[in-house]
């Protein structure tokens, strides 16, 4: 009982993943099917959370919005994490001109406010989740590069890096096999942070009409329209906000567990 409770982040995260993956198979209504006759209908057996301003099923729209939010957040964070960490490790390990090049180019990206950069890209390439992912990834590359770079600087002076060089290991092997595992902790923390911020940024952009396009469901879009009908149907605003908060909480807590799990000092299992 207690051990299951202790590992609630992983359990909840798996639930959310399963929910997102299985959305098309679940016995829920079509999130796009409108029914003007039952606008703002209160919860019923058929529609447990009620219907929105077009009579669409709120529950099913929440599930599909969750699916798109998780897809965008995870792929953007993975993409920026991979590129950013690689640049940071290479820069921190090679020093010299490479370091200047990698770190300064990140400073250039950091000059642009993230929202502005996203709006620029959306104006150029049009809105939609396929633009959103590379743009969000680009926005968060510098944060990974900086975290990786700073961690490499402390790890590279450790004697076990010298020991690996002394064994005849090449630069690539040292970066991948010796340094990377030892800086994984801060990178995973950064990853969880980026996932959470990506979810917020994606809903913000969608809220502004620059992200996911209507009628496709998105948490940001739902909050945007819910705001307009706040007086008639306050729950239309409350449900997507609750899901958004839960999602961010679960992502953070899960990444915390992930970091502990990668640490060999941590006792695997239920703890003690």
């Amino acid at each position: 009982m207690i051990s299951a409770f202790r590992n609630w982040p992983s359990a909840l995260f798996l639930c959310l993943i399963a929910l997102s993956l299985l959305a098309p198979l679940l016995p829920i209504h079509d999130p796009l099917a409108m029914n003007i006759a039952s606008r703002f209908a209160p919860p019923s057996w058929a529609f447990p959370l009620g219907q929105d301003e077009y009579g669409r099923d709120i529950l099913s729209r929440l599930v599909w919005a969750l699916r798109s939010a998780m897809f965008i957040a995870i792929s953007a964070a993975l993409l920026s994490g991979a590129i950013g960490s690689a640049l940071g490790i290479i820069g921190g390990f090679s020093r010299g001109a490479t370091e200047v090049l990698t770190m300064r180019s990140m400073d250039i990206i950091l000059c642009f406010p993230p929202l502005l950069l996203a709006m620029l890209a959306v104006t150029l390439y049009g809105p939609g989740s396929l633009t959103l992912i590379p743009v969000l990834a680009l926005v968060f590359v510098p944060s990974f590069t900086r975290v990786a770079h700073a961690s490499v600087l402390t790890v590279r002076s450790q004697e076990y890096v010298d020991a690996a060089r002394g064994m005849g290991a090449g630069a690539g092997r040292i970066m991948l096999r010796t340094i990377l595992p030892n800086i994984l902790g801060p990178l995973i923390v950064q990853f969880s942070f980026v996932m959470a911020v990506t979810v917020v940024l994606e809903s913000g952009l969608s809220f502004l009409g620059l992200g996911v396009l209507p009628p496709a469901p998105s948490l940001g879009l739902m909050i945007g329209t819910g705001r307009a009908t706040l007086a008639q149907a306050p729950m239309l605003l409350v449900w997507p906000c609750l899901v958004l908060s839960l999602l961010i909480l679960v992502l953070n807590a899960f990444c915390d567990r992930l970091r502990d799990w990668f640490d060999p000092r941590h006792v695997h299992g239920t703890g003690n």
Partner: protein, 615 residues
């Protein structure tokens, strides 16, 4: 019962009285007793040394006395009385007044215990003002007087300097000055000289001793070094895993140890001069901690291949580091880390390189292991120039064992994987064979093959160093560079690891370059010795020659400074002034090193003709 020494005229009882002290630390939900039922007293003018290996609870005892253990996770029971006043249970505000005023502490690391952005003099003056509430001018005058008392030369000029401008020994003097600012009745010194070079250690210990005689302080001295104990302590308390094993006058404890553990501990201490009768390296006798009995001594045959061409041949090696100005990035000064050094090493031979910190011995080790490129000169391995070899090729022939066994193993690799890593890098043998080789190597260094699945943090320092040695042997190199490989280990473990290296040398005909500052260990392990000073070799020769007939003034100074683990042979001269500090290897651009000449005392025993600075 303790009798107060005659020289303390104070009528009252002991300065510090500790009875039934038990200290527990919280780990998870459980309380672990790390010090159990400790009893001791220190009178005015007396020095009590608490000795023990790491984990024996000696530092915890010191911190409990100062009440510096974090509250909440520590629990102190029993009684600690300072001049008759019970300290346990005093509120923090009272303790703040007592700390510094009535008792003061000096710590191991003089590098980190000073505020780096505050002038030295002000740091001393601050402590005086805080505790005595005198005016700024008065505090400044007192601080200057204190700096003179701890023999900091040129105190007026150095008052405004910052910690980075002070050497380690000088910083420790500053710490002592701060500790003495309010004339405490009790001084607690927690490994105050462990981070210092031997010649500096000798000066600092003499200084503490003399100040104690002047002030009549009680001194609680915490150390792991039996040599230091023998030099400074009136009485000795031996601790082992939290228990008080033995207490008595230092002379008695050393001459007639009552407990087997004390006997084992004392006999494991490397003693300089114990090898006079042996010309060749000789393993340490290993004593059983439970019984205090020695294992049988054995002789090792001489396996040096002196006739064959040398395994390692170093000719005219120099390493310099450029230091650039911060603005124009121009080279302004150079560190002459290694300067025109030549020597060779035969197969099956151990050459020790000794010297104090900053003498270039580690840099030289790294050049030989290929981790650093020389500025000029040649290193030949088996007749092949190192410059023509890639690190990949070189690593098959030379491997390194590093100083810090806690930093030289990748914490993310299991021990088995760590030992297999070199084989994997060189694509040698199949994965299944690698597991077998790792198991075999673990057995060879005295560990069970079952531990291969565990991570480095689960091992003690000595076990980790064994693992590092196993890893270094995985590629079957002909040569090992051991850079201070046993310096971080406890005495009994140190002896075992040194013996292990000797046994492996016998089996595998290894050539070993053994870099160390510990003269007593060097005396045991090496066939030949090279003494380095400021990047140059000042004396090199057979070990028995260099130790028995030291010719260079620096070699003599180094040997004189080694503390003797024998209270009957206290030999520290009263050499208190700060001269004898190491000079800097930092030289201006365009500096031309002087031409050195060597004199041959006996075949193979070369001594640099001392320059005018030694006159």
């Amino acid at each position: 019962m303790l009798t107060v020494p005659a020289r303390s005229a104070a009528p009252s009882g002991p300065i510090l009285a500790v009875s039934n002290l038990t200290v527990s630390l919280k780990r998870g939900d459980a309380w672990n007793a790390v010090v159990r039922n400790l009893n001791f007293e220190i009178a005015a003018g007396e020095t009590l040394a608490i000795v023990g290996e790491s984990g024996s609870g000696k530092s915890v005892t010191a911190l409990s006395t100062m009440q510096l253990l974090p509250r909440g996770i520590s629990r102190i029971e029993g009684s600690i009385k300072l001049a008759g006043r019970e300290l346990l249970g005093l509120p923090e505000t009272e303790m703040v007044k007592i700390r510094g005023n009535d008792m003061a502490m000096i710590f191991q690391e003089p590098m980190t215990s000073l505020n780096p952005v505050m002038p030295i003099g002000d740091q001393i003056a601050e402590s005086i003002r805080f505790h005595r509430g005198v005016t700024q001018a008065q505090a400044r005058a007192d601080a200057l007087r204190l700096m003179e008392r701890v023999r900091i030369p040129d105190a007026k000029r150095r008052y405004g300097q910052f910690p980075y401008q002070f050497s380690g020994g000088m910083r420790q003097r500053v710490m002592i000055a701060i500790a003495l600012a309010c004339k405490p009745a009790l001084l607690i010194a927690d490994e105050p000289t462990t981070a210092l070079d031997v010649t500096i250690q000798a000066q600092v210990l003499s200084l503490i001793k003399e100040l104690q005689e002047e002030e009549g302080m009680a001194v609680l001295f915490i150390t792991h070094d039996m040599g230091v104990v023998a030099e400074v302590a009136d009485r000795t308390l031996v601790m082992y895993r939290g228990d008080q094993i033995e207490t008595g006058t230092t002379a008695e404890v050393f001459a007639r140890p009552a407990q087997p553990y004390t006997r084992a501990l004392l006999s494991a201490v490397p003693q300089l001069g114990s090898m006079r009768e042996h010309a060749k390296p000789h393993p340490f006798p290993i004593f059983d901690i439970a019984t205090g009995e020695a294992a049988l001594e054995r002789e090792l045959p001489d396996i040096r291949q002196k006739q064959a061409p040398p395994l390692l041949d170093v000719k005219g090696l120099s390493v310099r580091f450029d230091i650039r100005s911060s603005l124009l990035r121009r080279v302004t000064t150079r560190v002459h880390a290694v300067e025109n050094v030549s020597f060779n090493l035969a197969r099956g031979e151990t050459l020790a390189i000794v010297g104090e910190s900053g003498c270039g011995k580690s840099t030289m080790g790294r050049v030989i292991a290929g981790l650093r490129k020389p500025s000029s000169g040649h290193v030949e391995l088996d007749g092949r120039d190192l410059a023509g070899l890639s690190q990949h090729e070189l690593s098959r022939h030379v491997q390194m064992v590093f100083q810090d066994p806690f930093a030289s193993l990748n914490p993310r690799l299991t021990v088995g994987k760590a030992i297999q890593e070199p084989l994997q890098i060189h694509h040698l043998s199949s994965p299944k064979e690698r597991v077998e080789i790792a198991a075999d190597l673990l057995q060879r260094v005295g560990l069970s093959p079952e531990v291969a699945q565990r991570y480095p943090h689960e091992f003690s320092g000595g076990q980790r160093q064994r693992i590092c040695i196993a890893r270094a042997l995985a590629l079957q190199p002909g040569m090992l560079v051991a850079d201070e490989a046993v310096s971080a280990l406890d005495v009994s473990v140190k002896a075992q690891v040194v013996n292990l290296l000797m046994d492996l040398q016998q089996e595998l005909k290894l050539g070993i370059v053994f870099i160390s500052h510990d003269m007593a260990v060097v005396e045991r392990i090496s066939h030949r010795v090279a003494v380095m000073y400021l990047g140059e070799i000042v004396e090199i020769g057979e070990r028995a020659e260099v130790f028995g007939n030291p010719r260079h003034p620096y070699t003599r100074r180094l040997l004189d400074a080694v503390p003797m683990p024998d209270p009957a042979r206290r030999h520290y001269r009263r050499n208190l002034t700060g001269d004898g500090e190491l000079r800097s290897p930092l030289k201006p651009r365009g500096f031309v090193p002087p031409q050195r000449h060597y004199e041959e005392i006996k075949p193979g025993h070369l001594v640099q003709v001392p320059g005018p600075e030694w006159a």
